[in-house]
Point group: C2
Chain length 412, copies 2
């Protein structure tokens, strides 16, 4: 197998990753609050996940805040926080061009990925994402197989390192808003592991189900039963499996399901003046049906004349706000790139989300009570392996982006 | 009806409570994280609770921290925080006698209850609790009906204002560890409302189910369906219903259900020295099967020579700790009686609980993954009415212990 051609360890962004004897599959389960797994085990639908307690290793880890998909997926595949890799959300406000800029383009990525580095060294690498938005970032400069379930029908050998996917996987093209989008990722992963035997495979799902269904409810349990089924197959095929999440997920409503929203741009327009501030919600992406672009994190750009400390105090006083930090404080505490966050970073509490202006959020597509993420309340995520790990230093703060490192260095 | 004999409003602990034309039933649903109601509505098993959105009022409110049963039940029936009524947990450490003292005895209550005040003025009042531990406190100096489901078989007219309860309610005596213990409270409430027509009734359940089952899971939904059934009957009988909770409830485990416990006495013994500090867990009560005496709140008594600030810093540095306050800070922020809390108050994060010494907690009775409360993460609770409320001042911070006040002053 090609991975073993690599002698010694590879250095990626200052961390050391030795090649492995067995194929490694790292799974990022989007929006996987730990309780989803716990409840699926309780319901008896996840025997493999249950077995990981006894035969593997079950840990908890902190994800990156903002607890969003892109910053965390990039941290996982680079092994470093956004301060190093640069991707701290889906959007930032470019002060030079005075425009809101989408960060889906790989040109914003400032660090090499573990995936590309191993591929360059001769390892066979495969990346499968649910949504196409992540494919470009995760597969940046990477030789090998890289495709999304969303556009699986369009995959070509030239572009994606593989073609004829619907037939290979034996599933029709799933809707972008479906549990099947994630199932396609797993099903394709099993097929690829059996047929191509990649040395390293990265599977990244979508949180469509987690935005809709609470842990332990039928819709959620069905998803984790599906996942458990494919994990069993990956395990049977001999892979070392490391499983983590990009972020958790919490209800953001009252007891009747009404969302608790702070429309921060409206608040600031009233307090500071119209067009004196700009609230950016880095959760915003082209797929808003999940969450109406409402999450528990926002960043605020202020004019140079604004009194940031005073405005921070005003925001802090809003019920439901957990934390307001200056750019410098946020960059330090959450390890974010200061040039891509605003003058203030605002985090709301577990049950509350932040919007811009009420008029700019269409909640009509939210057919079920809002569940979302983005805050510190969604920072704790599972970190599980189907192998026992050798001892980790007690003072090491476990992160979801340690998953490659631990699998390669500590899995026994 | 006797209540209307009361002319004008009664003053209880500085708040004004006018008599009502219709019977008032206040329900305290123990451990009712808002998500339980939300998920029961989603599952279609709680049509009455769903209807309260349209025909009544659904609010969220903050309970008292520590988010435990006794402090909050006493706040609800007195309308004031523990700083006034004195009950800030099940246990405190008496510095004079140097003993851990249980606060179940009514002699520790420092304020009049709304219930006793109305009874004294001529209203017919009834109190039904699930566990007997609360009965003495809630019924302190109160003329009228007051009994627990736990000891319903022992109720006498002389002691409890009513007898022959099992036959009246038509249910066998429930086990203290059962959903039926709470069902008995509701069933008895409906029977009493129909037969005795009390002017004011207070129903307080137990969180046996909430400690076991997550929102939206079958065990939880069955409980809320049961509750919905009895609420419908109370509504049909013409009662104004105010519903709130003593505290919320959260999973306190990792993804495999292992509890995240900080054994604080062990930590302090190692850091400060054996017998130099005393960790008190005010959640401790004779009914430990629910939670193994593990919650997200502890208070620490230090010797006079101890450096409290340094020890506070050491506790603050433990992963999973959310907040460490001095006695004065805690008394102010959480409105607690300073003479009944320790030198430090410690609150752990949503997914973590605090124990004393590992050797002093028997977790063998925990058959399901730990769910518990006590912290700030369980502070947000439902506050619902089956009536529209007149406007509440926008700057009023809603508390669960506003439930009597709002029902009597704002229900239309």
């Amino acid at each position: 197998m090609s991975n073993t051609k690599i002698t010694g360890a590879l250095n990626v962004n200052g961390r050391s990753y030795p090649a492995m004897q067995q194929p490694l599959v790292v799974v990022c389960v989007d929006g996987c609050e730990q309780e989803y797994i716990n409840q699926a085990i309780q319901a008896g639908v996840a025997p493999f996940l249950k077995k990981m307690v006894e035969h593997g290793t079950v840990l908890s880890a902190d994800c990156v805040v903002p607890s969003f998909t892109n910053p965390n997926n990039l941290s996982i595949v680079t092994g470093v926080p956004p301060a190093v890799h640069g991707i701290c959300g889906n959007y930032f406000y470019d002060l030079e061009t005075k425009q809101e800029v989408m960060m889906n383009d790989a040109k914003y990525l400032r660090a090499a990925t573990i995936l590309a580095t191993f591929a360059d060294a001769g390892a066979k690498v495969a990346v499968i994402t649910a949504k196409d938005k992540l494919r470009g970032l995760l597969g940046h400069k990477m030789r090998g197989i890289c495709f999304s379930a969303e556009k699986a029908d369009q995959a070509t050998t030239e572009q994606n390192g593989i073609d004829n996917l619907l037939e290979r996987v034996g599933m029709p093209l799933p809707s972008v808003y479906s549990a099947e989008l994630s199932e396609f990722v797993f099903a394709a992963g099993v097929k690829l592991l059996a047929s191509e035997r990649p040395d390293i495979m990265y599977l990244s799902t979508t949180d469509y189900i987690q935005h809709k269904y609470a842990p332990g409810t039928p819709g959620a349990n069905a998803f984790y039963a599906m996942m458990d089924h494919y994990l069993t197959q990956l395990d049977t095929l001999g892979a070392v499996i490391g499983l983590t999440a990009d972020h958790g997920m919490n209800a953001k409503t009252d007891s009747a399901g009404k969302p608790n929203v702070i429309y921060l741009q409206d608040v600031l327009d009233a307090k500071v003046g119209v067009e004196k501030s700009r609230v950016i919600l880095p959760i915003t992406d082209p797929y808003v049906v999940h969450h109406g672009a409402l999450g528990s994190y926002a960043t605020v750009y202020l004019g140079t004349t604004a009194n940031a400390a005073e405005i921070a105090d005003q925001i802090r006083a809003i019920p439901g706000i957990e934390l307001v930090l200056t750019r410098e404080q946020a960059a330090q505490r959450f390890e974010l790139p200061p040039d891509r966050i605003g003058d203030l970073v605002v985090v709301s509490e577990r049950l509350t989300v932040i919007g811009t202006a009420a008029s700019r959020h269409d909640l009509s597509e939210l057919k079920l009570p809002l569940r979302s993420h983005g805050g510190i309340s969604e920072q704790r995520v599972p970190l599980m392996f189907n192998r026992k790990l050798s001892a980790i230093p007690a003072d090491h703060r476990l992160r979801n982006f340690d998953v490659f490192y631990l699998a390669m260095n500590n899995a026994q």
